[in-house]
Amino acid sequence: MKPTKGIDKKSTSQPAKTAGHYAFSILVIGITVLICIPLSSNQGYHVVSYLLLSVVSLLATFMGIGPVFVASALSALVWNYFFIPPNYTFHIDKAEDILMFGLFFIIAMLNGIFTTRVRRQEQLALERENRTHTLFQLTRNLSKASGTNEVLNVANAEIETHFGITPYFILQNGMNKLIINPEKKDSTFLTEKQHSIAEWSFTHLQKAGAFTQNFTADENTYIPLPGAKITPGVLVYKAKEQFSGNKKTFWDTCITLIANALEREFLEEQAQKARFLDESDRLYKTLFNSISHELRIPVATIMGASDTLLNSNNSADTQAALCSEIFTASIRLNRVIENLLNMSRLESGRISARPNWHEINDLFNKVTEDLQNELKPFNVITSISENMPLVKIDFGLMEQILYNLIFNATQYAPVTSDITLSAEHVNNFLVLKVSDNGPGFPEDALPCVFNKFYRGTINKTGGLGLGLSIVKGFVEAQKGIITVKNRETGGAVFTLTVPSEKPDIEHFEINEP
């Protein structure tokens, strides 16, 4: 922003300029008289008077009334003394000379008055233009500013530039209460009493403090910001003078503009908050519905099956089947709980990867072992690239990631199909791939599969839709990335890449006893 020239600083060099004008007019008259001395001897002294009168009129077009008056008085006296007979006296005989003598003053005065008036008009126009320009700039800057803080920055800067005062804005909190900021212990820090004056001004919508009718003893002035619908807050400043006339209008306009901008930001923020609340309400409902479903189904299974076991005479086969149902349901319940706990760990930001050296083989074995029941109907292929070094990974996070990805695959892929797990080490990155021969994802769903509560269209066992978002969170906790693609041969492939340096084990071998 280019600061515009302040209108109250417009005439700092005025006295020097005026003195120059006086000197200049005296000089011009002097030169004219010198020129006229030889002229008057053969043309008569009236020619001199015409010449002097013209010069005075000329001077009056660009000088103030003072210098012009001096010029006309000087020319009248000089003309009278040097040229009107009897020469070298102030004595005038003829009526026409007396008339001419008076004319000098009248013409000079009239010219001066008119010029001054014109120039004053010019000055006013200039001031008006300046003000308009400033207001235009202020409006533009305020509308460009987004967010309450930016608006306040613009407002502070503009008020400082144009009025030379440091403003302090106290805003309201959205429930028609001013936000008191006790930590702000700078020069604008207000005492408790001053805060209560601000509160008073805010609630009564009246100015208070110095140069007002209320609480006049206070050093500050308090102005409620005039918004269209709400009052965004109060402006507090230490007034040096009371603005009047044009300056007051200018000040009021500035305040209104700032208040409107603040109100605009304020309403926008409130609307945003409302949208956010709406969104979280929706999320909460989804979460609540799916959690209650995911928890109730296994609990219902456990209750039903155990109830049957307790209350009827069942064959050994039925008993075994019921027990197996209870077991399956409890594993499912446990999975839901694990996912919820992991999600809350992620949400609370308490996940931090703690990488250590591991063999990829151990990781694959652990996960396939944990999922051995789910993987029974499938053909599991694991491939680890040759010369795979030890990798520095967070085993727990990695295990959960692969568990969720493989579990997902078992939910969608047709039985007896391949589920492939592969690992390679490229340029200090561990690249793991989990692919299946299931239906894959609809193309338009690919960007959102990692979103919370995303659930596939064909879903065998429900699920919270948290699995993949946990996977993404855990991969990112290890500074890695995960992508998903549909394979050309059908099914989906998840590729995750996490940084993993190679171990430095050279010198250790030497230590072998």
């Binding site: 250590n356 030890l390 727990g396 171990p503 072998e512």
Partner: protein, 227 residues
């Protein structure tokens, strides 16, 4: 030892105690129960159980504190059974002398297996000199290892590692513990070296090195010599 082994359960959740009582009694153990850490300490001192199952989240004390107090004099196996499943909690408990760690929810079969291992280890206090594991035979005094009656060429570090794990069969040894025992204190953080040696050793002693059954990884915690 004569008569059934007695197992003391220190856990504040009555449902877990009941479940354990049913499961353990059905498997021929005598079960004692304490609902608080304080009672647990008294019961352990007066009733001399053969094994203690300890919960970490007790109402009156941190389970780890109870473990420390027990370990001042109690030398028989202690198995931790807790909902806490972070690697830190497990490693801490093992470092303070727990023989094993199982997190809730757990599988009864798994718990029974761990109890069997722990009791067997504490019964066989006098160490056998020649250990047999399927086709593998470790001759401790002669530093010789045979597989299918063929002598395996092991370096001395490999032999120390193998015999350390084998002598503690079924018990989880933390990385730090193994590194300290074999390489010394200054190496306790160098888990990558341990990994390398375990990988080498697996190639020599395991039937299928990519599906190890003898040198079993306990992810993030350590190794266990399989049964």
């Amino acid at each position: 030892m004569t008569g059934p082994n007695t197992i003391l359960i220190i856990d504040d959740e009555i449902q877990i105690r009941r479940l354990l009582e049913i499961t353990l009694t059905a498997n021929g153990y005598k079960v004692l129960q304490s609902g608080t850490g304080k009672d647990g300490l008294i019961d352990a001192a007066t009733l001399h159980p053969s094994l203690i199952i300890l919960d970490l989240g007790l109402p009156d004390a941190e389970g780890i504190e109870i473990l420390k107090k027990l370990r001042e004099w109690y030398s028989k196996p202690i198995i931790i059974l807790s909902v806490r499943q972070s690697e830190d909690d497990i490693v801490t408990a093992l470092d303070y002398g727990a023989n094993d760690y199982l997190s809730k929810p757990f599988r009864s079969a798994e718990l029974l297996a761990r109890i069997r291992v722990a009791l067997r280890a504490s019964d066989n206090k006098k160490e056998a000199e020649i250990l047999h594991f399927g086709t593998l035979c470790i001759d401790l005094p002669n530093h010789a290892v045979r597989k299918n009656d063929e002598i395996l060429k092991l370096t001395s570090t490999e032999f120390s590692l193998l015999s350390l794990l084998a002598k503690n069969q079924g018990r989880v040894l933390t990385h730090q513990y193994i590194l300290k025992e074999i390489w010394g204190y200054s190496y306790v953080e160098q888990t990558q070296y341990l990994r390398v040696f375990v990988a080498q050793l697996r190639k020599k002693v395991e039937d299928n090195p990519s599906k190890p059954t003898l040198l079993v990884t306990e992810s993030g915690i350590g190794y266990r010599f399989g049964e």
